[in-house]
């Protein structure tokens, strides 16, 4: 009898070997790249998206995850985070993956002198895909005196490092330059021209720097370059502080192809600015966190919260997912490799609940805004592996699992 059962099992396994490793069942899929916005099943096999279709039989998958009532999106891409060099740097996996972020772009932590150290210490050991916008400062984002030192801003060496490490470096960052004139931005753009990559600019406009946001956006930045921290008040008067209107040169810059990145951070998202700009229909092109030690706690600037803030200021969910997947992938020339749920793509997937109620959202200056919807990440898949599962959706009840060992 026992032998018969074993034989039956073995035979059964041979006949019905599941085609898929994982099946996300009945979630509301938002995949802007493929114009999908509705209930769909997603099958994953060998770390890749195998199939997206309306009714994939559960028998075809080894593991079935019920996603009914939840949103399923491509793994989010956070275009502006800090995991190396900068003093407030975080660890990629414990900050990104529980937020549904499967790709983070470190914005300027490493320069050409320090990038290889970042590769060994951060990029290679992380489950999260970590990419880099390399700092025009050779030593990276290690403090004001270094970031002001134009002697350490070498366009050729920066471009050479990018070309050597194309798999990991997707662009250039210039940030915090407190000196006079355009040297930092000019050298970053020169490196960008040599390596054919975009530049992300976080420009401190101090009084007496000889720079204006208008000139920067209209004459310096190239189409595809990124202006980050769009809703702070410090570097760019995106909203005229007297009339309350979005500046005309902003629209002009956007028409030229300059991209505006959220870059929430610990000082760069203010309710009066965001509310006025979004109220006039000015949405950021890419949603990013500028996640670091001073923004992750009180301001909660992780991706689901940044998206929630956008939703509560009038951006539709589909538009917010577009700006957290396809748009950042395009900005770093990684589309359609990243940011989609196309069959054959790497299976980076996020699953969210859109909660309804009254929720407080906090800006960089620790004032709150009340909103009625909040996005919460419940499950994350990275390269086909279920790396985060808040509610155990992919796992059995313990009292029905027998004398279990670690369940995969």
């Amino acid at each position: 009898m026992r032998l018969a059962t074993i034989l039956l099992f073995a035979a059964g396994a041979a006949w019905t070997q599941p085609r898929y490793d994982m099946l996300l069942k009945q979630g509301h899929v938002i995949d802007p790249a493929n114009r999908i916005d509705g209930v769909m099943d997603i099958a994953v096999s060998n770390g890749k998206i195998a199939r997206v279709a309306a009714n994939i039989p559960v028998a075809e998958a080894r593991k079935v995850i019920d996603a009914k009532g939840l949103y399923v999106t491509p793994g989010l891409i956070d275009l502006h985070a800090h995991v190396f060099g900068y003093s407030g740097s975080l660890l990629p996996d414990d900050s990104a993956l529980p937020a549904g972020t499967t790709t983070i772009v470190d914005a300027g932590g490493a320069g050409w002198r320090t990038f290889d150290e970042m590769l060994e210490r951060v990029i290679r050991p992380s489950k999260t895909r970590v990419l880099s916008l390399i700092n025009i400062v050779g030593r990276g984002m290690v403090g004001q005196s270094f970031e002001d030192n134009v002697e350490d801003m070498d366009s050729e060496k920066t471009a050479a490092k990018i070309m050597e490490r194309r798999a990991h470096i997707v662009g250039i960052k210039t940030a915090h330059f407190g000196g006079y004139g355009w040297t930092a931005i000019d050298r970053a753009i020169a490196a960008g021209n040599l390596a054919k990559v975009p530049v992300m600019v976080d420009d401190k406009i101090f009084v007496g720097t000889g720079r204006t946001s208008k000139e920067k956006l209209l004459s310096k930045l190239r189409p595809g370059d990124l202006h980050t921290h769009v809703f702070n008040d410090r570097q760019l008067e995106i909203v005229d502080r007297y009339s309350g209107k979005v500046q005309p040169y902003i629209a002009e810059a956007r028409a030229r192809g300059v991209l505006f990145d959220l870059g929430h951070g610990g000082g760069s998202f203010l309710w009066p600015v965001a509310t006025k700009a979004m109220g006039q229909g000015f949405f950021p092109d890419t949603i990013s966190t500028d996640l670091h030690a001073s923004s992750i706690l009180m301001a909660e600037s992780d991706m689901p919260n940044c998206i929630s803030k956008m939703l509560n200021l009038g951006m539709p969910l589909q538009a917010a997912i577009l700006r957290s997947t396809v748009s950042p992938a395009k900005a770093i020339a990684r589309y359609p490799e990243l940011g989609t749920l196309s069959a054959g793509a790497i299976a980076d997937i996020a699953v969210f609940r859109l909660k309804k109620g009254v929720f407080a959202f906090k800006d960089a200056w620790q004032h709150k805004h009340l909103g009625e919807q909040k996005l919460e990440c419940v499950l994350t898949v990275r390269a086909g592996e279920e790396v985060f599962d808040l509610e155990g959706r992919g796992y059995p009840e313990w009292d029905k699992a027998g004398n279990y060992e670690v369940i995969r």
């Binding site: 414990d94 709150k368 959706r393 313990w398």
Partner: protein, 323 residues
Amino acid sequence: MRLLLLFALLIPAGAQEIYDLLLKNGHVIDPKNNRNGRTDIAISKGRVAKVAQGIPAAHSRRVVDASDYYVTPGLIDIHGHFGSDGVNPDHNSLRSGVTTAVDAGGVTVANFAAFKATVIDHSKTRVLAFMPGAPDSAWIVADVAMKDTIAGLRPGDILTNIYGQNMPSLADARKRGILLDSGQLWFRVAVPALKAGLLPDTISTGMDKKSLLLPRATMTNVMSKFLAMGLTLEQVLERTTAGPAKAIRRPDLGSITVGGAADLAVLELRNGTFAFLDSGHAKLTAGKEVRCVLTVRDGVVVWDSEGLSLTHWRDAGPYSNFK
């Protein structure tokens, strides 16, 4: 008469204090001080200034209405793994109400200076460490499966991961005064053990790079599991405040005591359907969940998911640089 009145006004005993922060009307559970009921907590200069009912809201610069919540001493997690090979203590601890987190296993005499510079001095969380072999201190040992290991422990030493995959009998260890800490947890081991009366002395997360993601080893998650397995909220809080403070011989921590550091957690006990995973990735479905809505560390609000201590931006006056 007038002179007398003047004297009365000058007497300091009758003086009133201005507070930095006041937690109003929360259900305070402070096992060490045997408090379990509604009261106010006033904080001044990073210290607990007063614990009493009816402290006037007008006497504090910031007031949090804690009516819907439990207020407890800042939680103590005696088993975590921090730093570049572990996890970040701040956002993984403070979000869960943990204000003191102890690194269990990574720190040695050789690397302590680096650990202090990169983790301890860099964190808002009070980060402490067990160091193997340090004299006059408790040791923490994770190797529950090893009989020899247990035999080598002294009273006051701590055995962690007691509900691990292959738990031996721990009756002798407990009799000898060895402290039992939860750490890694398998429901197939823990549920019968708790039924048989083997409660932990301390509840900890054992959080590391892996367990933080799956099963999600945060303190509120672990506390929720113990509630689901039948412990009362009071039993859970005893084992996450006063219990661990005693285990690491830090009587200054783990309670809400006037004059003591103002480390506090504001917790919500939510009803609904929730599910939690164990270290073997098996699931327990439960009807309650503990969530941390606000954390105070040395008197400073460091986590405030509901914005309880914050002003709405429209009421915040003109932003200094933006009219």
